[in-house]
């Protein structure tokens, strides 16, 4: 890596990209680098560091809108929102600890560009659903804008959707405008104890289809639950009982009423239910969001699978048959399966084959190798491979926005510029 460019203005970002474009040398785009270990290893000769591009330029709580520079620290965004009793609805994970670094790092763009949502993604949508507008510098070294600052906008193509999930390969975001959400007055989490994975996900599905407005829904097999810092969860896990968790949020009386309703409605599946309150619930949902319960052992490979919710357990079980020693948990009412695959498989394909075969045989979906050694990430498809036609469209989009593949070359797939 020859140099690090640290632009402090959007104009300097244009200069940095123009320079790389002229020289034909690819750039690695980073914020605070908290997700650098995700994706294929990049072919980059310089680093474009956006951590100096900071500051909230507009925050109107009554309009639920916040605009800030791409490199604004996550902590600064969260503090500003908390001061007005608001939050980011999509519940972005903090993967620092899982990836072997410190927690609490990251930038605004880093929360949006990978389009990774946490447990509340189930009810509130993903980052792509909350990005209202942006300014960016494309791989053409041109600064442009897309979207706006209002909630309802169908003026032209919705480029915001492309940027969320692009992992920095379609442009360098310099400014983002997001829809934010009021913080609920309180929350409560109902725990159902001792259900099998199949029954646990069935309980989650039924709750999601009922009238109680569930905000988040997860199932932790006993071995994983035992690692929780929340006493009630850890105790059940230690007793060999799985924990099925349902979160409701809102005004106090409503929350109490709905938690009671959930227990009543699910009593035929589990007679053994209890509640945990706001603070304990926050700990549990953070453990689920950040997959910290799967962080150890550090050499374990972490896969994140998005699947048809009710088929989560059969997919996980098919994978465990093929990859013994794999542990995991279910979020998004069964639709998000987190797996920790034993580290020795990194000598082979890290489980990529068995995992993607299980997906193909059980209703489809996609799997991301979120944590694994660099050599493995260079060898196997980190992101779910696309079919021929979709891949061709993606390639054309990529070339349209970044014709010389200057930005994060090779991060999503092995790729070479056109001759």
């Amino acid at each position: 890596m020859s140099e690090t460019l640290k632009p402090a203005t959007a104009d300097q970002v244009v200069d940095a990209v123009a320079q790389a474009l002229a020289a034909g040398t690819p750039l690695e785009v980073v914020g605070q680098g908290s997700k650098r270990a995700i994706g294929r290893p990049m072919e980059a000769e310089s680093r474009l560091d956006l951590s100096k591009l900071t500051g909230i330029s507009l925050y109107e709580p009554a309009e639920l809108v916040l605009r800030a520079a791409a490199g604004t620290p996550r902590a600064e965004i969260e503090a500003a929102l908390a001061a007005e009793r608001q939050r980011l609805a999509f519940d972005p994970p903090d993967l620092g600890a899982l990836l072997g670094g410190p927690a609490g790092r990251g930038t605004l763009a880093g929360m949006v560009v990978p389009n990774l949502g946490g447990p509340r993604r189930l009810s509130a949508g993903a980052p792509r659903d909350h990005l209202l507008g942006y300014k960016a510098v494309s791989g053409r070294a041109e600064a442009y804008k897309a979207g706006g600052r209002v909630m309802k906008n169908v003026t032209g193509f919705d480029l915001c959707k492309l940027m969320a999930g692009s992992w920095g390969t379609l442009g360098v975001l310099t400014e983002l405008t997001l829809k934010v959400q009021p913080l609920p007055e309180t929350s409560r989490t109902v725990l159902l104890l001792g259900l099998t994975d199949g029954l646990g996900v069935r309980a989650l599905s039924r709750a999601m289809g009922g009238p109680h407005e569930v905000a988040a829904a997860a199932h932790l097999p006993a071995g994983v639950a035992a690692l929780s810092k929340v006493a009630a969860v850890a105790r059940a896990g230690a007793e060999g009982r799985a924990v099925t968790a349902l979160k409701v949020e809102g005004p106090g009386p409503s929350v109490a009423h709905r938690a009671g309703g959930l227990k009543t409605d699910l009593a035929d599946l589990s007679a053994d239910a209890e509640d945990i309150h706001d603070a304990q619930g926050a700990t549990l949902w953070q453990e689920i969001r950040d997959a910290t319960l799967l962080a150890e052992p550090a050499e374990g490979l972490i896969w994140r699978l998005s699947v048809t919710p009710m088929r989560g357990p059969e997919i996980a079980h098919a994978i465990v048959q093929r990859l013994p020693g794999t542990r995991g948990l279910y979020d998004w009412a069964g639709g998000l399966v987190w797996l920790a695959v034993p580290g020795d498989t990194a000598q082979g394909d890290g489980g990529a084959g068995p995992i993607r075969r299980a997906l193909a045989e059980h209703g489809g979906g996609h799997a991301l190798l979120l944590r694994g050694p660099e050599a493995l990430r260079a060898r196997v498809a980190v992101f779910q491979p696309e079919d021929r036609v979709t891949a061709a469209l993606s390639r054309r989009l990529r070339l349209g926005f970044d014709p010389r593949l200057i930005l994060n070359r090779g991060r999503l797939i092995a790729e070479q510029p056109e001759e």
Partner: protein, 496 residues
Amino acid sequence: MRMPEPDATTLDRRLSVVHELRRMVPEPGGVIHDPDELAVYECDGLTAYRQLPLVVVLPQTTRQVAQVLKYCHETGVKVVPRGAGTSLSGGALPLADGITLGLGKFNRILEVDLENRCAVVQPGVTNLAISTAVAGQGFYYAPDPSSQIACSIGGNVAENSGGVHCLKYGLTTNNLLGLEFVTIEGEVIRLGGKHLDSPGYDLMGVITGSEGLLGVVTEVTVRLLPTPATARALLMGFESSEAAGDTVTAIIAGGIIPAGLEMMDRPAIHAAEAFCHAGYPLDAEALLICELDGPEAEVEHLIEQVAAIARGKGANSLRVSADEAERQAFWAGRKAAFPAVGRISPDYYCMDGTIPRHQLPHVLGRMRQMSAEYGLDVANVFHAGDGNLHPLILFDANRPGDLEKAEAFGAEILKLCVEVGGVLTGEHGVGVEKRDLMPVMFEPVDLAHQQQVKCAFDPRHRLNPGKMFPELHNCAELGRLHVSGGRMPFPDLPRF
């Protein structure tokens, strides 16, 4: 409105196009070319613009759609996709030298999967039919454009349709799980499914709202939601739009996200009340309808909070719906606002800008001035929660110059929306109607980047040309890089 010059060669070989389409879609009624029958397709919901298509084709299978598109791609014929034809922006306006490809025969609900909270439907199914199909099981499909009785889900995807519940439940794009999609090259792809999010670029996200410029959707998987346990509404009258606007601000700032939050101004209130006797306060300058839905205990609690806020802001009338019939009555006037205005004026022109909500009093004030200048009345209904404004400009098409005046007035309103930080269209789409206003909101470089998407999907511009973009650049030209090798070495750039 200037449309691309019809291609004489295509017009000349009309009969051969008809013949080829018949071969691809041999079913009776699959190809329409009789001028009388074509008249049905000459416009969509924006009736000011009319054009007979070259020919209409109504395929029944994805394979047929693929064949038609491939044919268009390879032989240079333009194609305009069409759902139910309810677009208010001319998105389905035909081209004299283009095939109109109707999806009306794709009208089946293929699967309802309540355990996974989704339904798989064909694009010609109406928006309302989806909710109706699952209502008995306690589910519904959230986006509810006011044309929901007639508009098709495929059209909703093309336009990214909204409705009154967007603030809480989002637009179409936030309620889709999967698409089957045919490219102009005739390739069929499946995006998404019953799972969430996309592994690579979010193609479904950019196809949604692309107004038929990128391809044709042949199957849609929508997210279903459980019907809220209860819904109640408040009807609140205010002496000024400022007071009503302040109330909206205070509700949302108070952490409450209503299911619907609608505002009407004095002319709209009077028109609606005269039309359907909903019991609206005629002395009010502005009326708010606020609907709260969810678990009963919560709705009860929030109704009290909203009522307290409104009283604090000086509401001079306030009613809470006691039962479902009264809630429906509150909405009846709002839902009938367009036809109600249609009764007091020979014609009206419905606009669709979105503004930052705090700009409302300013925008309404400016609109009153413009109304005086143009000599045309305007009534306003407003999705106040999300800032989506629907000014209805009243005019008489039989009076010479009135339509042109109404259009100029409308364009000025939309420019004002952009000037105060808003956008040209919140839910109706750009189509032909707002096409030439795109440069008001976007710089050439912004539009060039949007067009990169068009070039990735449809480099020869066969799909729905003349819509959305004032000018479509040749893709090869647009793709060319402008590298200024001489600008090095960027002395200002901090290096480490």
